[in-house]
């Protein structure tokens, strides 16, 4: 926020151009534009995100922020901290735990909530499986099972606004999402009947039982998130950086061997080996794939993300591959 340098957002520019990308440096910076006071891109995105978060706190009774320890929710929480400084973040955080999460991410989640003095609510899919309210799916994927615990937590705590770290660049159904997304008492999204969203006048009015999903990072891309993480020196779970891990092949993805994901077929077992990998998203361990990478630091990751030819979800999310409209269908049911 303090920088009004027009040529760069980041104190340290990404180290070198990525392999395979254009070697020439960015020509003609925006200083050529008339007018001296223009927000550089990351500053504009940060300012917009803070504005959105403050609007929600001002207009809703009981907001909550979905926090998984994944990079998007970490950046969103960082914006929330900035929005109310020097005061504390004025709402709790909620994690829907599938029971198949990476242990290091859960540790990061707990440490972050404690460091910031936040109340952490956990909605546990495992509890629902244990008492029979939900049943394990044949494919073992637990992501779709998150919807019911999420909706129960929202209604149980009477949360009326739920911040999510979803970005429109992630997926084609998300590209259609408003910043303020009204959900009915079943948490359903109706893409054909969304409220028009005009200027920065967000309409959060809702009837009892309804709630609003709010996406402060709507206009951010994966690369924006990483450049912001670099600029703000935000710490992430180590999974996001290259490390050696035992993996096997499934459906063209690299799955980690762990307590919740093991080879199911002979072919999968035959593919077992140790690779140098990192994660682009850190969801449920049983359906989130790793990518081969030597990016050990944030600048390496930026170079890698800038050069990749595969989208974040395409590379790492098995559940999005279920059908052409898997995300849209889940969102209609109340998922994010």
């Amino acid at each position: 926020m303090t920088t009004i340098d027009l040529t760069t957002d980041a104190p340290g520019s990404p180290a070198g151009a990525p392999a395979g990308a254009s070697a020439e440096a960015a020509p003609a910076p925006a200083t050529a534009l008339p007018g001296g006071r223009r927000l550089a891109q990351l500053d504009a995105l940060e300012s917009e995100g803070i504005h959105i978060i403050r609007e929600v706190v001002a207009e809703f009774e009981r907001p909550v922020l979905l926090f998984s320890g994944g990079k998007d929710s970490v950046v969103m929480l960082h914006l929330a901290v900035k929005a109310f400084a020097p005061g504390p973040v004025p709402f709790p955080v909620l994690h829907v735990d599938t029971g198949h999460n990476f242990p290091e991410v859960l540790a990061y989640r707990d440490a972050t909530a404690q460091r910031l003095g936040l109340r952490l609510e956990v909605a546990s899919v495992q509890d629902y499986l244990d008492d029979g309210r939900l049943r394990e799916r044949a494919d073992g994927t637990r992501n779709p099972l998150q919807t019911q615990p999420l909706l129960d937590a929202i209604s149980g705590h009477r949360f009326d606004a739920v911040f999510g770290g979803g970005r429109r660049d992630e997926e084609k159904a998300r590209a259609k999402e408003r910043v303020f997304s009204l959900r009915d008492e079943f948490g359903q999204w109706d893409p054909r009947n969304q409220r028009p969203e005009l200027w920065n006048l967000y309409n959060g009015r809702h009837r009892p039982g309804e709630h609003v999903r709010v996406f402060p990072l709507s206009n951010w891309t994966e690369l924006d998130v990483w450049r912001y993480i670099a600029r703000e020196r935000i710490e992430l779970p180590e999974l996001y950086y290259a490390h050696d891990r035992e993996v096997f092949d499934r459906d063209g993805m690299l799955l980690a061997v762990g307590p919740y994901s093991e080879p199911r077929t002979d072919a999968e077992a035959a593919s077992l080996r140790t690779e140098r990998v990192r994660y682009r998203t850190v969801g449920d361990m049983s359906c989130t794939g790793a990518v081969r990478s030597d990016a050990t630091g944030v600048e390496d990751v930026i170079a890698e993300v800038a050069a990749t030819r595969i989208t974040e979800r395409g590379a790492t999310r098995a559940d999005d591959r279920l059908s052409e409209a898997a995300m849209e269908d889940r969102k209609k049911e109340g998922y994010f």
């Binding site: 960015a26 007018g35 609007e55 084609k172 159904a173 005009l198 030819r309 595969i310 395409g314 590379a315």
Partner: protein, 460 residues
């Protein structure tokens, strides 16, 4: 990355490498059904290397399943089940791409007349509207409607892409004829800054690369080059300072002792520049005071105090006097303070299925303030062909008209033609909370009847 079956050449020149660092330009597309809007957007994304291999794979797979010989680039943007089934765009989709010079947020808006409200949605935040016309068909009623929406919402720049130029044999005469039609329509509707470009979204002429061999007579920039050049937003230095208060920050339970008496007003600068020491007025109360501090989380953490803030920065402002300031108040430059009023005449784009009738009770949302309002009168409905008001007793879905409103308490409403942020409002249904109308204070087409010379207007 598992099985990577990329159809894009490895090592393709990526404009993303060290870039995404210039300014952010927000654009909205508009056009009629079947004029190739989704194809143009797909072409922009594809030729600027913003489509990744798995997205393209998916498009190629679906295209093949439908028996198409080449990938249908429109499938890149039509994301909903119903859109893909019907082959039309229903709702606004937001797309992101970048070149070495700047980043773009693209609101891909549906062209069908029943979704005009989505065009209004996309245009309300746009720096540029990219309007497509079919070179064979010329200007349609929808073209005029979209030009009118761009003009009403004071979108700073309009770029008209004269598409399917390949289907009129790349005729310079036809292009010049259409360009003249566009200029005439734009002038009558008061569009500030209009550019025309002959393109073929299907073939790619003048979309990303300049100087298509097919149009040797055109020596202007390609669409992408033009989008890289256009200035963003309004110039803060040319505007008066306006700051709607979002939240009062008063952390009595702050972790640090020195902040226990802290009192700041958090918000996003709506327009202009504020400097520490400036005299300001708090509206609607009218109390005058002085800015003694401007904070952000970063400035508080570093101890380096800020001396100024400008639109659209999110900051927290501290004032010299302990005046009563709450959410919904507007802190404004004392030297150029707006008037406050309970009577607003405004131009509205009616977005609801139910008609607007005089006597209706609604909520008016203006900056961070929401007040009750009664519709006193429907003054008239806009005839988009003549840009004149015709008498009307009600407004129906997609009508643009003029209304007078009486408010339960005053707001600092300014003419939209001079103040885009503090001149905008929503009308909201108090019962179900639905958004009824996009409103602009004053005669939003006033500029059309004035000699055109808008500040910030810019020509290549």
């Amino acid at each position: 990355m598992g099985t990577q079956t990329s159809t894009v050449a490895e090592g393709a020149t990526l404009p993303l490498d060290d870039a995404r660092r210039g300014t952010l330009l927000r654009l909205a597309t508009a056009g009629s059904v079947d004029d190739g809007k989704s194809t143009l957007v797909g072409r922009l994304l594809f030729d600027s290397k913003s489509v990744l291999a798995d997205q393209l794979d998916a498009v190629e797979r679906v295209s093949r399943d439908r028996g198409l010989e080449t990938a249908d680039l429109a499938l890149l943007t039509d994301g909903l089940r119903a859109e893909r089934e019907q082959g039309i765009t229903i709702d606004v989709a937001y797309r992101y791409f970048a070149t070495a010079r700047r980043s773009f947020i693209l609101a891909d808006c549906p062209g069908h007349v029943q979704y005009t409200r989505n065009t209004v949605t996309g245009a309300s935040t746009a720096d540029v509207v990219v309007l497509l016309i079919d070179a064979r068909k010329g200007l349609l009623e929808q073209t005029r409607r979209h030009l009118a929406v761009a003009s009403l919402l004071r979108v700073p720049h309009v770029v008209v892409a004269v598409n399917k130029i390949d289907l009129v044999d790349y005729s310079e005469a036809r292009y010049e004829e259409l360009a003249a039609d566009i200029r005439a329509a734009a002038t009558s509707l008061g569009v500030g800054d209009v550019h025309t470009i002959p393109v073929s979204a299907l073939v790619g002429d003048n979309v990303v690369d300049r100087a298509s061999v097919n149009t040797p007579w055109y020596d202007g920039p390609s669409l992408l080059e033009l989008l890289e050049e256009l200035p963003t937003g309004d110039d803060p230095e040319a505007e008066a300072f306006r700051f709607p208060v979002q939240v009062v920050i008063r952390p009595q339970a702050a972790a640090e002792e020195r902040y226990r008496d802290y009192r700041g007003y958090a918000g996003q600068v709506a327009s202009g520049v504020v400097t520490v020491g400036d005299e300001v007025v708090v509206l609607p109360s009218g109390r005058r005071t002085t800015v003694v501090g401007i904070d952000t989380a970063d400035s508080l953490a570093s101890g380096e105090e800020l001396t100024e803030a400008f639109a659209p920065q999110s900051v927290t402002i501290r004032l010299a006097d302990d005046v009563d300031v709450a959410r919904g108040d507007l802190i404004a430059s004392a030297a150029e303070a707006p008037e406050v009023t309970q009577d607003v005449e405004g131009t509205v784009a009616w977005l609801s299925d139910r008609p607007l009738l005089p006597g209706a009770r609604v909520l008016l949302k203006h900056t961070t303030r929401t007040v009750q309002a009664v519709v006193r009168d429907v003054v008239g409905r806009l005839d988009l062909d003549t840009a004149e008001l015709e008498p009307a007793e009600r407004l129906d879905l997609n009508d643009i008209g003029r209304v007078t409103l009486r408010l339960a308490s005053p707001v600092a409403a300014e003419e939209y033609v001079v103040a885009r942020r503090t001149g905008a409002f929503l009308l909201v249904d108090g019962q179900d909370g639905g958004t009824l109308a996009a409103g602009m204070v004053g005669d939003a087409l006033a500029a059309a009847r004035r000699p055109a010379s808008r500040p910030g207007s810019y020509a290549i």
